[in-house]
Symmetry: C2
Subunit: 326 residues, 2 copies
C-alpha cells in the first residue's frame, strides 16, 4: 500500500491511499481519518485499506482522483518521535578525514540523534531559511515509520513493527552543525524542519529491494536539474531493526515513531556521487585541498527520487525550491 | 487554571480541570477533549474553561470529583516536540570541575537538547529500568508548554506564547550519558521516558513567582522521604522566552512544544542541596576526592514538589518508585 496525507485545516492532514503507479488517489476517510490513527490501530484497519488499494491500483476505486504531490504534506505530517541515524559509516569517515573531526564513536554502536517532530514540510513546498551564511545543505535519506515497539525488543521484533518506508531530505545548516556537535548535545539550529517524500509505502511495495532491514535501491539526487549522486541503501552499516532495538533498550517506542537512515553514502562515491553537499565538499577538500561546490543558494531546486528495477518511481519525488524566509 | 489528563484508552488522555487547591477535578470534555487540542485552539476554548475553573475552585462545578494524582498521566501525555535545556550554568560548572569534562560551550548560547515526546510517564507511575548498572539518576526541572511560535520570534513574542508551566523528573542513566555526550549527538539510552507533575498551570497561578520568564520558587526534592535539595528557579541563566527564541531561529515551533529548564541548580548548593544525584556526587568528588552517594536502587522513591509563599502545592507532587523492568 502507498499512503499520503492531504493538506487540510487539520494538523494531521487527511489520509489518502495512492495507486501503485502514483497516478491516482482516493480518500481513506471512510476507514480511518489519519495516518497516525492507522499506525495506532494497524491490524484493525489495514485489511480494508488493502482491499481499497487493490481496487485503486486496478482503476476501480469509486471517488478516485488524479494524485497531486503538491497537494500533500509529509505522509506523517507530524510525529511524537523522530530519530535520525548516521548509519552509513562511509559518510562519517569522509567527513572526519576532510575536516579532522574527532567524533568519539563507540565501536558497534550507531550514532542516533533525537529530533523534532512538530512540523515537517511537504515534497513540493518551498523551503524558507533566514540567510545563506548558515550554509544550507541537503541530505537524501531513507526512513521507516513504526508501530508500537516495546522496551527491550530484539532487532527482529523491532523490524516486524516497521509499517512504512519513505524518503526525506534532512535539511542541514552546516554553519551551526560543527559548533553544535562540539557541544555534545545534538542539533538545534543545524537541523530545521525535515522534508518528506509524497508517499510512504508498506515494505512489500519494495519487493526484493527490501532486504536485510535495508532499502537496497539508489537514492537519486539532482540539483537544479543536474545529476548530483545516486548512492545505494544497501551499504547501511546497521539494519533499521538493529537501530530500533538500540533505541528501545530502556524505553517503549510508540506508534508513529520515524527513524531516518542518515544521508545515503557509498564507498564508491567517485562513481555514484553523494546525497549531500557536505560529503562532496569533503571529497573535494581531500582531493584538492579545498571545497569547490557551493552550499545551497536561494532559488535553487533539489530533487530526490527512488526507482525500482523497472524504472518506476516508488515514493514519488521530493522536488523543492529553497527561498529566503520572510 | 490548572489542567491534568486522565488516563484513558486514548493516547492523549482526557482533559481535566483541577481546582486551585488540587482537591477536586472536573471533566473538560464538554469544552475541549484533550490538552493538545486546547493548545492548538487556546483563544477559542480558554474563556469557557476559565469560567469552569473559577466555579470548580469555588466548590460550585457540577460533576466535580476528588482529584487523584494516581489516575492521571502527564498533563500533555505525548508531545510533537520536547526540548530540554541546561539553563542553570552552575550545574554544568560543577560537573565539569568534578569530572574534568570539556564541553565546548559557545558564550551566550544555551545548551538545548532535542528529546523524544512519544511516551511520558505519570506522576505516580512506577518507573521501570533494566539494570542498576546504568546508574539511574533524577533531575528536578521546571517546564513550559507553548502555543504556536513563528520562525524568527523574539524572546518577548515567544514568552507571550507560554501557555502552561509544570514540573518534571528528567530521569537520566549516567552510565550512558558521558559516552553519548562525547559522541556529540545528544542522548539516546541516557534519557529514557520523562515523568511529569500531576498538573500544568497557567503562568498567572504562580503570581509574583512567575518573573523574568522564570519560576522563582524552590524545587523541593526528597529521596525515600528524606530531604535532598530545594534549589530555586530564579538562578536560571536564560529565561524561557530567550531559550524558545533561540529554538525558533530558523523554524516554527508548533503548539504543544514542551521546553524543560534543565536540572535546577544554585550557586549556594552547600545550603540548598541539589535536584539531581550527579551534582551531589560531583560536589562530593570535589570535596572528598570521591562520590559518597549511590545512584538510584530498585525500590527507591523520589518526590518533587513546588510550593508557593503560603506553603500550598502548585503542581502537586511527582512521587514515584523505581523498579526493575520485566
Amino acid at each position: 500500500m502507498k499512503f499520503a496525507s492531504l493538506k487540510t485545516s487539520s494538523r494531521d492532514g487527511a489520509l489518502l491511499l495512492v495507486s501503485r503507479d502514483l497516478s491516482h488517489a482516493v480518500s481513506a476517510a471512510g476507514i480511518v481519518p489519519t495516518l497516525q490513527s492507522l499506525l495506532e490501530n494497524w491490524d484493525e484497519f489495514s485489511p480494508r485499506l488493502e482491499d481499497l488499494y487493490q481496487a485503486l491500483s486496478a482503476g476501480k476505486a469509486p471517488g478516485a482522483f488524479a494524485f497531486d504531490p503538491a497537494a500533500v504534506t509529509a505522509p506523517l505530517p507530524r510525529a511524537h518521535q523522530f530519530v535520525d541515524a548516521s548509519a552509513f559509516l562511509n559518510h562519517g569517515d569522509i567527513m572526519e578525514r576532510a575536516f579532522n573531526l574527532t567524533v568519539k564513536k563507540t565501536p558497534g554502536i550507531a550514532v542516533l540523534v533525537q529530533r523534532q517532530g512538530d512540523e515537517f514540510r511537504g515534497p513540493r513546498d518551498d523551503y524558507p531559511f533566514p540567510t545563506e551564511e548558515d550554509q544550507c545543505d541537503f541530505e537524501g535519506e531513507f526512513a521507516v515509520i513504526t508501530g508500537d515497539i516495546g522496551m527491550g525488543s530484539t532487532p527482529e521484533e523491532a523490524e516486524s513493527q516497521i509499517r512504512l518506508v519513505t524518503i526525506l531530505n534532512d535539511v542541514s545548516m552546516r554553519k551551526h552543525l560543527f559548533r553544535e556537535l562540539s557541544m555534545g548535545f545534538g542539533f538545534i539550529n543545524a537541523k530545521p524542519a525535515s522534508v518528506f517524500g509524497p508517499v510512504a509505502v508498506t515494505p512489500d511495495e519494495l519487493g526484493d529491494a527490501w532486504a536485510n532491514g535495508r532499502v537496497e535501491l539508489d537514492m537519486r539526487v539532482s540539483r537544479n536539474g543536474e545529476w548530483f549522486g545516486h548512492p545505494n541503501g544497501r551499504e547501511m552499516d546497521w539494519s533499521f531493526g538493529e537501530l530500533l532495538a538500540h533505541l528501545a533498550y530502556n524505553r517503549n517506542l510508540k506508534a508513529g515513531t520515524i527513524l531516518g537512515s542518515g544521508t545515503v553514502s557509498n564507498r564508491g562515491y567517485e562513481q555514484v556521487g553523494s546525497a549531500c553537499l557536505a560529503e562532496r565538499r569533503a571529497v573535494e577538500t581531500i582531493a584538492h585541498g579545498k571545497a569547490l561546490t557551493d552550499f545551497v543558494h536561494f532559488g535553487e531546486t533539489l530533487r530526490f527520487e527512488v526507482k525500482n528495477a523497472d524504472g518506476a518511481s516508488i515514493f514519488g519525488a521530493i522536488e523543492h525550491r529553497f527561498v529566503k524566509a520572510d
